[in-house]
């Protein structure tokens, strides 16, 4: 019983990180109907840049976070201006393919600047554990989960209750109609990318603490956010949260109970098996928008 609860808790922790990354994907999809496939390397970029700020430049944590946010905003403005804007009015598939190009570029960029062995991520969160009965919860993971939930609370409030959030939802539904109402689509897309990259970078920091500074490992983890997006529905912010947590839980349970049966590797496979099942059974996800058609 304790084992189960332990698994569930660690599943929630990692699930929170997946949820944050999934949020980035959902935001970009909401603002521009584009599926951002470059998520894995972007998360890794966050890990590497924060490592660089904290270790190579030896900045204190608050300054490093500010630096990270500035880099994120610069990246997203550059992406919007040079990659996304030329493709307005072109088929969506072209824009999705550009994100694949972005993925390759970012990976190459990281390998160029920081070649070599896996580095160790600095200890920025208080290490230690909390004991609840027989269950051990590392404080790092708890803080990670708290950050994730806080971020989500902020974004859900933003979309439901602010004017800018409403404008973004409108742009996501019908770009041409939004433009006729005076909404600048390029601004909406730039904001979506900024937030998406910031959340990816935060995910990168949290994952770096767990898995070290390694491009391949972090990218692979970043990609697991896709099943989370599909479970929750591509247009739903709340769906990204629930999807992420679910994937984390199921992955954790899989590792705990099935790894011994099949000799390991469950962590990598389970999220994508679930992705396949979801696409077969409920492709719009739990909270995705079914197309409203009136005769």
């Amino acid at each position: 019983m304790d084992y189960l609860i332990q698994l569930l808790m660690s599943g929630l922790m990692i699930g929170g990180i997946y949820a944050l990354i999934a949020l980035g994907i959902v935001l970009i999809y909401k603002a521009s109907s584009i599926f951002n496939l470059a998520v894995g390397p972007l998360v890794a970029l966050g890990t590497f840049i924060s490592w660089w700020l904290l270790v190579a430049l030896e900045l204190p944590l608050p300054l490093a976070i500010v630096g990270l946010i500035i880099v994120a905003i610069i990246c997203s403005l550059a992406i919007e201006r040079y990659l996304m804007r030329p493709l307005i009015g072109q088929p969506i598939l072209s824009a999705v393919m550009i994100t694949i190009a972005l993925m390759v570029m970012v990976s190459g960029f990281i390998t160029l600047l920081w070649p070599g062995v896996t580095r160790k991520f600095p200890e920025i969160l208080p290490s230690g554990v909390i004991h609840l009965g027989n269950i051990v919860i590392p404080t790092e993971s708890l803080i990670g989960l708290a950050v994730c939930l806080l971020g989500f609370g902020i974004f859900i409030a933003f979309f439901q209750w602010t004017k800018m959030g409403l404008a973004m939802r409108a742009t996501a539904e019908d770009q041409q109609l939004a433009q006729s109402g005076g909404i600048k689509v390029t601004t909406m897309v730039a904001i979506a990318w900024s937030v998406a990259i910031i959340t990816s970078f935060i995910g990168g920091i949290l994952l770096g603490g767990l898995h070290g500074v390694n491009l391949g490992a972090i990218s692979a983890l970043g990609f697991k956010a896709f099943p989370a997006v599909m479970i929750g529905g591509m247009e739903s912010v709340a769906g990204a949260l629930i999807g992420g947590l679910l994937i984390g839980l199921l992955e954790s349970l899989g590792i705990g109970y099935l790894d011994t049966l099949v000799g390991g590797g469950m962590a990598d496979v389970i999220p994508f098996i679930i992705l396949l099942l979801i696409l077969i059974v409920k492709p719009y996800g739990m909270f995705g928008f079914e197309r409203i058609e009136r005769v």
Binding site: L166, A167, L177, Q179, S180, G181, G182, F289
Partner: protein, 282 residues
């Protein structure tokens, strides 16, 4: 505060204010498809002007050229210009033109189907940064369309056709437009609803002092509320004049209102004959 439009001799031959003047524009889509070949029209301050024509005549394209939405469809005004408030607005960006007081209500009751009625209306007031003013405006729009107030939390995709038409017009009103471009508001609506929408358009024109450029295929309704009308065919304006003159125009009566010369029985041979002859006479 916008400067007042210049007083010039208007199409009615009087001295009045011209709000919008389209001068002989040529519109091409994707650099290859010529849709408008020299269209000129004029909307005076406070007037309702209608554009009639069959499908494919280029009516919607004319509206999109005015509101700037042409850009989003890879279209371009390659010749001529559009004057509004003393400025040239052809090939401008739709957001800027919307900010100048031109509001287009798109064809087919386009709205944001997953947003609620109230959210749809609020998006219309996006350019207005004064919250209290937006709230006042919202209440004002609800006073025009009380049915929308009852439906304000409903998801707008599920509203009936008439309610959706009221919603899209209300959203346009939220932006305090000086001129509204209405694209086929009566499309797909029941006859009673069409009558109601026609009356609403007239009310908006009188009470809000909004000029209206109305594109319609339903010539009867359009000519009953408009003051001036243009008829388009194949990308050109082929006829224009005051609405009451148009209503009595023989060709309009025959082609649009289905009223041939009184007492004449229509059989196929006659129709074939007039189709061959179909030329617009004065």
């Amino acid at each position: 505060m916008m400067g007042l439009p210049l007083k010039r001799e208007t199409q009615r031959g009087e001295i009045g204010c011209i709000m919008l003047k389209v001068n002989n524009i040529e519109v091409i889509y994707s650099n290859v498809i010529l849709v408008l070949r020299g269209v000129s029209l004029e909307v005076d301050d406070g007037q309702i002007v209608c554009i009639l024509g069959a499908n494919g005549a280029g009516k919607s394209t004319t509206l999109k050229a005015i509101s700037g939405l042409l850009k989003t469809e890879l279209g371009e005004v390659t010749h001529g210009n559009i004057e509004y408030d003393g400025k040239q607005i052809q090939n401008g960006s739709p957001q800027d033109i919307a900010g100048m007081g031109i509001s287009q209500v798109l064809e087919g009751r386009r709205l944001y189907p997953h947003l609620t009625t109230q959210e749809n209306l609020l998006v219309g007031a996006y350019l207005n940064n004064n919250r209290a003013d937006v709230k006042k405006r919202l209440d004002h729009v609800y006073s025009y369309f009380p049915r929308l107030k009852d439906l304000r939390q409903s998801v707008s995709g599920y509203l009936s056709g008439g309610e959706q038409q009221m919603l899209v017009m209300g959203r346009s009103l939220m932006a305090r437009p000086k001129i509204m471009l209405l694209d086929e508001p009566s499309l797909g609506l029941a006859p009673l609803m069409v009558k109601e929408i026609g009356e609403i358009v007239k009310t908006i024109n009188e009470e809000e002092k909004v000029s209206i450029l109305l594109v319609e295929q339903n010539a009867k309704v359009a000519l009953s509320i408009a003051e001036h009308g243009y008829v388009m065919e194949n990308g050109r304006v082929v006829l224009d004049g005051p609405a009451d003159k148009l209503k009595d125009n023989e060709d309009i009566r025959e082609f649009y209102l289905g009223l041939g010369s009184v007492g004449q029985k229509k059989n196929y041979r006659n129709i074939k004959h007039y189709k061959r002859r179909k030329r617009w006479l004065g």
